[in-house]
């Protein structure tokens, strides 16, 4: 039976933060899960977040997104220097609402390329919602030892944004 092991959890403080970094990730689990509850300090209604591994800022990431907003759907893909990690609200959305996201990273300590599956939701009360499924790939054989979570627009995570990292073990 698989077991969820909380590795670390963090909540952003009053000053906000541009990035959240889980470093020195133990290599003792089979898979990782990242949970994020995020909101930006910018006036946007919605904007994308991102994941990066091991500080690799080369164009070594690819992803495909299926996205719906309550009235229309679209799909897009990218080869970039990050994997898009859902949509979060800024101050243009209803106050105190945070986006909710998870990313599953199997075989993170192995020597094959790293796949990621993500699901994400964000809403602006009674006006719009964003729901997104993302498949991602980091084309690197390196084990993941560092995960950086950051707002795509160069904003800050506001206070009470939080992230948790879990390790999945077989027993």
């Amino acid at each position: 039976m698989a077991t969820f092991n909380l590795i670390q959890t963090v909540t952003v403080g009053a000053g906000g933060a541009a990035t959240i970094n889980f470093t020195s990730i133990p290599q003792i689990y089979t898979d990782l899960i990242v949970y994020l509850s995020g909101r930006y300090d910018n006036a946007v209604s919605f904007n994308a977040g991102a994941l990066r591994f091991n500080n690799d800022s080369g164009n070594n990431y690819s992803y495909r997104v299926l996205r719906g907003n309550g009235s229309s759907v679209d799909s897009f893909s990218g080869t970039t220097s990050y994997i898009e990690f859902g949509t979060n609200q800024g101050s243009g959305s209803t106050a105190n609402i945070f986006g909710s996201h998870s990313a599953y990273i199997p075989n993170y300590a192995g020597s094959t390329f790293k796949s990621v599956s993500m699901d994400q939701v964000a809403e602006n009360n009674a006006i719009e919602t964003r729901m997104q499924l993302t498949s991602g790939l980091w084309s690197s054989t390196s084990a993941i030892t560092l995960i950086t979570i950051f707002p795509g627009g160069g904003y800050n995570w506001v206070q009470y944004s939080s992230a948790s990292l879990y390790g999945i073990s077989k027993t």
Binding site: Q8, V10, G15, A18, I20, N21, T23, I25, G152
Partner: protein, 73 residues
Amino acid sequence: MPTKLVINCSTGERAEVEMTAEEVAQQEADALAFAEQEAARQAELDAKAEAKASAQAKLKALGLSDAEIEALV
């Protein structure tokens, strides 16, 4: 300087650290990449919407009802 939260998963140590100039430059480059990507996406969506409206208008001109057009497009 913006700050970053660093959580050492092996020791549990947490720190709020000022980003280096290099990290700030990377943040700016990321923001630019996101903006360009979003603009490209929006242009694609706009083009699709324009093509759809054009197709609907042509079907209407052929005599199809709104319900028939809705069923097709």
